[in-house]
Symmetry: D2
Subunit: 465 residues, 4 copies
Amino acid sequence: MSDSKGKMLWGGRFSGGSADVTKRISSSVHFDGRMYEQDIEGSKAHARMLGKMGVLKEDEVDAVVRGLDGILNDIGSGKFVFSEELEDVHMNIESELTRRIGDAGKRLHTARSRNDQVALDMRLYLRKEISAVRTLITGLMSIIVGLSEKNMDAVMPGYTHLQVAQPVRFSHHVLVYAWQLARDLERLSAAERACGSMPLGSGALAGVNYGNDREFLMKELGFDRVAENSMDAVSDRDFALDFLYFASVLGSHLSRFCEELVLWSSSEFGYIRLADGVTTGSSIMPQKRNPDVAELIRGKSGRLYGNLFSLLTIMKGLPLAYNRDMQEDKEPLFDSVDTVKICLEGMAEMLSGMEVNARRMKESVYRNYSTATDVADYLVGKGVPFRESHEIVGRIVAHCEEKGLDFFNLDAKTLRGFSGAFGDDAVGYFNPESSVERKVSAGGTSGSSVKGQAARLREIIKLYS
Amino acid sequence: MSDSKGKMLWGGRFSGGSADVTKRISSSVHFDGRMYEQDIEGSKAHARMLGKMGVLKEDEVDAVVRGLDGILNDIGSGKFVFSEELEDVHMNIESELTRRIGDAGKRLHTARSRNDQVALDMRLYLRKEISAVRTLITGLMSIIVGLSEKNMDAVMPGYTHLQVAQPVRFSHHVLVYAWQLARDLERLSAAERACGSMPLGSGALAGVNYGNDREFLMKELGFDRVAENSMDAVSDRDFALDFLYFASVLGSHLSRFCEELVLWSSSEFGYIRLADGVTTGSSIMPQKRNPDVAELIRGKSGRLYGNLFSLLTIMKGLPLAYNRDMQEDKEPLFDSVDTVKICLEGMAEMLSGMEVNARRMKESVYRNYSTATDVADYLVGKGVPFRESHEIVGRIVAHCEEKGLDFFNLDAKTLRGFSGAFGDDAVGYFNPESSVERKVSAGGTSGSSVKGQAARLREIIKLYS
Amino acid sequence: MSDSKGKMLWGGRFSGGSADVTKRISSSVHFDGRMYEQDIEGSKAHARMLGKMGVLKEDEVDAVVRGLDGILNDIGSGKFVFSEELEDVHMNIESELTRRIGDAGKRLHTARSRNDQVALDMRLYLRKEISAVRTLITGLMSIIVGLSEKNMDAVMPGYTHLQVAQPVRFSHHVLVYAWQLARDLERLSAAERACGSMPLGSGALAGVNYGNDREFLMKELGFDRVAENSMDAVSDRDFALDFLYFASVLGSHLSRFCEELVLWSSSEFGYIRLADGVTTGSSIMPQKRNPDVAELIRGKSGRLYGNLFSLLTIMKGLPLAYNRDMQEDKEPLFDSVDTVKICLEGMAEMLSGMEVNARRMKESVYRNYSTATDVADYLVGKGVPFRESHEIVGRIVAHCEEKGLDFFNLDAKTLRGFSGAFGDDAVGYFNPESSVERKVSAGGTSGSSVKGQAARLREIIKLYS
Amino acid sequence: MSDSKGKMLWGGRFSGGSADVTKRISSSVHFDGRMYEQDIEGSKAHARMLGKMGVLKEDEVDAVVRGLDGILNDIGSGKFVFSEELEDVHMNIESELTRRIGDAGKRLHTARSRNDQVALDMRLYLRKEISAVRTLITGLMSIIVGLSEKNMDAVMPGYTHLQVAQPVRFSHHVLVYAWQLARDLERLSAAERACGSMPLGSGALAGVNYGNDREFLMKELGFDRVAENSMDAVSDRDFALDFLYFASVLGSHLSRFCEELVLWSSSEFGYIRLADGVTTGSSIMPQKRNPDVAELIRGKSGRLYGNLFSLLTIMKGLPLAYNRDMQEDKEPLFDSVDTVKICLEGMAEMLSGMEVNARRMKESVYRNYSTATDVADYLVGKGVPFRESHEIVGRIVAHCEEKGLDFFNLDAKTLRGFSGAFGDDAVGYFNPESSVERKVSAGGTSGSSVKGQAARLREIIKLYS
């Protein structure tokens, strides 16, 4: 981004014009064109401010605003097509405006520069997209909470190391992903706050020779505050990094959820059935339901990470203030915006139509001595030292293995053969369904805890909606 | 991290013990040992809570607390040395406690697990370090503000594309880095809030069979809130990512500052002189002052980025809840903590002793037609159309180049030869020192703007101190 | 990638068809469409092999080949447009073929699968692009060698820590970048070898129920060898990683070169003048020549790094064999191919038109005691102990600083005032132009060394051309 | 790295000495100390060369070599301890040598510099480690080939999308990882070749004022060739990047294998049993065998990726020649060396003791219509059109589902009810064990193919051993 570029401006000195490769490597309108609404919104506010300052006359302001609105419509309806020759979205719109309304269009560039203009457009653009992303996240959270409530009492194995550890509610398990998303909302809001600083009026880097009413611009454009330092305003891309980071962590969360969806829809686990609409299959292998959407979302964590590291690399070691390297900020940012949105939509679609197979979960939890810890805790509660109680349970399990007995169905008499501490109430401690209820600590997998979580999540969703 | 590990616990079943390579790849005490204070702090709070719940008797609580305090002292004084055999910091301390006070030591592990214990320790550790880092950042900000105030009126070239663009105050330029740090403080606070969720009482993953008073633990340990979902509490590493991301952006900021320090201390720029204490040199080349510290800090952005990417990769696609992969979170986190601290100290040292060469800055700003834009703006102000005014200035510059005249020192008569619009006041518009004052827009490089910025930065520093 | 996808194939079981979001997230023809030539080339070879095996009859083979050639032409001329509905390039071409020639088109899919087909197309595509990239690299190397030869004897400061250290030839300095490119050629060839393994005939993952003549396919398609394991063939993306890595290191090299071009074209260094065609400027600041192309190429290292890390992340922890995540390999690969090509073209354009300012280089090398080490070496050669000789030179430098004398122009008498060891030949040792000639060690900056390097580089260029 | 650092050398000019933080941030002996053998090896060769050149006398060379050998022994036995004050390994050894043998020790530094010395040490170090890593890889490959041969005929489900697709041999499946390692060996050799360029004699950057016999050094130290350009030799870190990249891809391969080991050792899959020595468990949950080593190796891909990205970031945008940022190359390199070695050892341990549960594999492959494609192919072979044959098989599967019949056990009569094309031989086409044999294409999962692969892998192992 040069302060004043385009052949018409500095062509005098430069004899040969840009080399062909320069045009191809410099041109950005094929990607920055997507910010045309923000570019026009910013220009309209700037025109009004120039009017207030007396730089533009009342009727010039009107002409500019009407001209810009016309261009806005024509881009929207496809009537106006960007020219690669004019390099970027700003020059395309500015030239067209001048073509339509004459010199006032040129005067619009008073007291601003391409550098603060692009800084403005990106922030406006990102704020709009952040709002859309937030809606998708709260929507997905609602779906997860609904899924939890609908399957409140399904008990499944809780895994550590992908080994069955203790019984948990499916409803408890899936809420983890809602809590992750609640944290993602905080990171998203942090990115939004970072975008809240209004850069216009910073000029190329030093400020401008006019007393721009930046408070006016700030309010007109819906920002929180005015950028405090003109060189910072044009050289800062933290707000873009903040979004790319938000997107990366969201991507890591979704990759974990999708990994589980892929596992759960395997025939070996069989805990869920994804809907036809989000799977592909085979005409002759009816059991094959390839979880393509889950896999694609899992894989898309890669591009989200990659985009973050692209911009971190670009910014490394750049001296102040504006450097053209920074034009490379846009494509990763736009790609992460698009990717986050489609991933959230894909998750919503998958979870909405997903069926939970509580029977398969139950079979698995009953196959794996998942309540052995509960039984040991029972004995500790009866005064048996921790270590001894573990030994007793170990012997019971070994006994079941040897004799092919059902650990979850031993009677009190058998148990007392292992320890006199077993009372008649012991039998219940082997039961996975009871086990989850005994997790009475706050945040545990008991029914009341899960219901409380769901309620608090609904409040958070409301807060962000 | 297994729920119950160590040969003494599950050795019965496992005939051969761990393979040698398993011990080497699993052992973590050589790095997680640095969390011993937090491990002991957490255990003391847990003991008190078990006392409240009646699981431990009053005197047992006392014994545990005294035992742990003794171990704390002995680690601090080097009397107690960790054993690699016992794998991690938790086992080392737990075994030693049991050795010292007997069975009550073992009972301390009631109603918790290694999984929520390590989640607790890391958050406690990181909160402590975040506090230390914050102090270093505000300290560095103070130094920058001081540097700005001390050199308030030095005028230097403002660069875009590393080409001289417009004159700016050095004091304005360096404050960019203070504003960057102000944003880093926000990211640091976000990481701190992410650490504010108290995980203890989540057990291995499902919660525990005891009504742990988690509110008590939260207050006792200074947390903001209780982790809402036990599986989330043991599988979440967002708080560590948030710190690693904060550190990466800080690293990118410091790499930019250091790039400028390296440039400025080159003989070609010559804008600053770094103190002996932060440079290396040559006994025979007195002009050689290698800015090693600046280079090292610039390079350390690499490890800060790498650490973030490491943990993002580790978390990608991990199913719930705890997986041993997550042990790999600690080394990048600890390394980024250490790196951030030494970089901030290094910056403080460099900037404290740095001398600004205002004369060299002035020479450069006077060599480069840096006020050409101001002169054009002057003509616009006199009613000359934008385009025409640019042409006029272009001709003046060309004239100076040809005749070897000093652009900054043309008299009014010469100027009027180019355009009748030049008044007697025009001469001042060529002056870089006046140029910076004419940047009257908020946030520009005028003296009042820079002073205002310094005042607001001092408030921010106070706020965070 | 499913084994058999598209509504027509497995639609029977799936009632609702794909969800809209599924179509959007799954569709790849907007990017994999660029492999249409390779897809057709592979299909033609496969058809001929099926003919050899008797699966297709002679006239069927002819029909397939003619049909595919027609489609190839129609895509090339824009007559045939891909449909997003048909998802990917393979389905688009296969459907169109069947539409044109009937059932034989369908039979073409015998003894292969989408999984080995895409693995084939990517390798064919990448081999073609690697060849184009190689030509660009050798072309750029030639330009650098030419630049070196044209400016053989310009002496400039050699920097360490961006501090002037010793005089070097400019011609020696720029050849560093040619040597870097020579190493990049090796990495490129490694990527090419990785692409040399012919995957077709691996089927979905297990091989096929036909004795495919894979040697025939290998020769027909110009591969080096047949992929040895069918599951490996469809799940391996090492060849893509190898290219992305090559591109990243190339990007790091070019970022270093561009950093220097940006430095050198600053007014402070002033060592080079980039041509109008690769810079942007200002109509009123004639000295401003923004090195946009250099900055953009420097910044593009970010996307090259990001693309590598995207694919590394995608592949992390993926079980065998094909997973849909792997569709995400294409966009980073294509983007790196495009980026590498335009960066190499941009470098060639910049270096072709670049003017070297030997005078500014000379001024700088003469300003900085750059030969102090040579003088000390001279004394050592005369038998003065290393340490003492350093002290002597230090005193001479201090003397020049104090008296404002020209270090490079001291007479023998003055020198003997500092040490009797100085002979009449000493004077020459202060001279930067002589200094570079005294670097007689192989690979040093002497003229004969640089000429030898240039000759060897020309051989390497020839070897790869 | 400065050309001549340490207080004794340039202390004269620098009044205050280094700041405390400078010492801490600059010191590298705590990590570069591990290259002491290479530093001494390089110095001995350099001494001999100086002897040949007449710079050192015969007896001085002997004194240097004896002195260095003494230091080598004393470091090895722990008698000589590095001092942080002396900053790096080079200064530590050089000072000690001078202390022991006097001035000849100092003379050893003639005709070289710290910059080419560290470039030499790193290459020597890495070449030694590459050799060790190669042995570990070929060792692991042997274990995999042995595992394959031992379980040659176990049939398991082949997965795509983690859905059962077609039967494959377990022996075929695991060989994928041997083929990946074979490619890793090529990348390792590429890194080795990159290390094969001898940098000594490049001096600080420009070459040296002596006709160093670099061919002699090359042969003495076992290098392939002499570095061609002195500035390139001290500023190039491609060889380190090449190793870090090799390590990253190896890490991605191992992460995939470990993902499968984790899946396969889950109770849901149950395909393998890892030995006690590489798992952790629970005293009371005998079925719990946490695959900690597999998880840790999977997680360590994160640090391997992170290390690569660190160095890529460090090198981005660095001007020539040596910059102190490059000191940051060592820790990621050393960490990746250590990580790769322990991961390979861990894999070897895991695979050596792993038991394959062929029964569970068989159950799974028989549960999932895995041969439906084979049956359709059978019908195609009998002349039934592709599409129709798929419909027929779809109906058979639906029939089995409805009636609860065993797909793999239908009789010829039942089959003929679906299509007259089924002959008596059809029954065999349902059989998974026969299916794998029918994959007659080269590289498929047939027994002869797998045996052939094993033989070729053994040759590759031999080639690299």
